[in-house]
């Protein structure tokens, strides 16, 4: 059975560190509470976007088929999915006490994939702007620019967080506190990929279907 290994990835505090382990569990649970309140924000932005799907809300402006780019949405999806996997590799390397260089390597790969995602997304927004699809053009576009860049901002925050954790790993080493922070960053990063499933399904595929 893998019961004892079923604790959160990134933790290897062991059973004899019961106090430290309990504290970590509390911190991680608190982070889950934050993630779920973030989920409510995203969920309501999705609801707002869906209510602005009526052709009336295009206000005579560009419709999804005029401005969305399926190829770019697919590339962004792949980058984010791969970055979720590479973050998993970093967490595994940390959890199984592999050389710290390995952890840093996978974190850097994750960061690069995240930055690639952001540059493609910004390029998409730029294309939409040149086609006249600006947030103030219609209710539909306001809802789009309320939802998708909100996710982009989260990815930006996550990328900054990865840089900070790389610095902490470098200067502090695999300190238990650093491990728990990385664990929470992992939850945040995987959570963002789950939100992206909603965005590519509802916004891009739903808009282009």
């Amino acid at each position: 059975m893998r019961a004892s290994t079923a604790t959160h990835p990134g933790l290897n505090l062991g059973n004899h560190h019961t106090d430290a382990h309990d504290k970590a569990e509390t911190l991680v649970f608190g982070f889950w509470v934050f993630l779920m309140s973030d989920l409510i924000i995203f969920g309501l932005m999705f609801a707002l976007y869906l209510t602005a799907q009526n052709p009336l809300s295009y206000a005579g402006g560009p419709s999804p088929k005029d401005v969305y780019d399926l190829g770019s949405a697919f590339a962004q999806t792949m980058l984010l999915l791969c970055s979720s996997l590479t973050f998993g590799f970093a967490g595994l390397a940390l959890r199984h006490k592999l050389p710290l260089a390995r952890v840093k390597f996978w974190l850097v790969v994750t960061l690069l994939l995240g930055l690639g995602f952001l540059s493609l997304e910004l390029n998409d927004f730029h294309d939409m702007f040149t086609k006249g699809a600006v947030p103030s053009r219609s209710g539909h576009l306001s809802a789009f620019f309320g939802l998708v860049p909100l996710h982009g901002l989260h990815v930006t925050a996550g990328s900054i967080w990865i840089v900070i954790m790389l610095l902490q790993l470098h200067f502090l080493g695999p300190h238990p506190m650093v491990k728990i922070r990385l664990l929470r960053l992992g939850l945040f990063w995987h959570f963002l990929d789950i939100i992206w499933i909603g965005i590519f399904s509802i916004v891009y595929l739903g808009g282009l279907a």
Binding site: R2, A3, T5, A6, T7, H8, P9, F29, W32, V33, M36, S37, L39, I40, G43, L44, F46, A47, L48, L50, T51, N54, L56, L70, F74, T77, M78, L81, S84, L85, G88, F89, L92, R95, H96, K97, L187, H190, F191, D193, I194, I197, G198, F200, S201, I202, L205, G206, L208, A209
Partner: protein
Amino acid sequence: MQEKLDYAGELQDYLKGFALALLLTLIPFGMVAWSALPRFTLLIAIGVCGLLQVVVQFHYFLHINLSREKREDLWLILFSILLLSIMAGGTIWIMANLAHRMH
């Protein structure tokens, strides 16, 4: 030794999750890009693949499962989803009804 085995097993779990997520991404994108199915059928397929992928990622990447030590996390997630479905579902229902009446 035990640790090595666990490492391989966990690595395999991540790769399995990645493969499933990849498949559930390729299917809806492929359908939208190349198939000529009616819009409604496409939307149902996209929705089903999306929901399945959310479950896959929660299971393989976020390690949420039915074990006792994860029960609190699972309750929190399910309760948040309940609140969200009341708020989001209610919003969409009311606004769709309003849009229907305006035609």
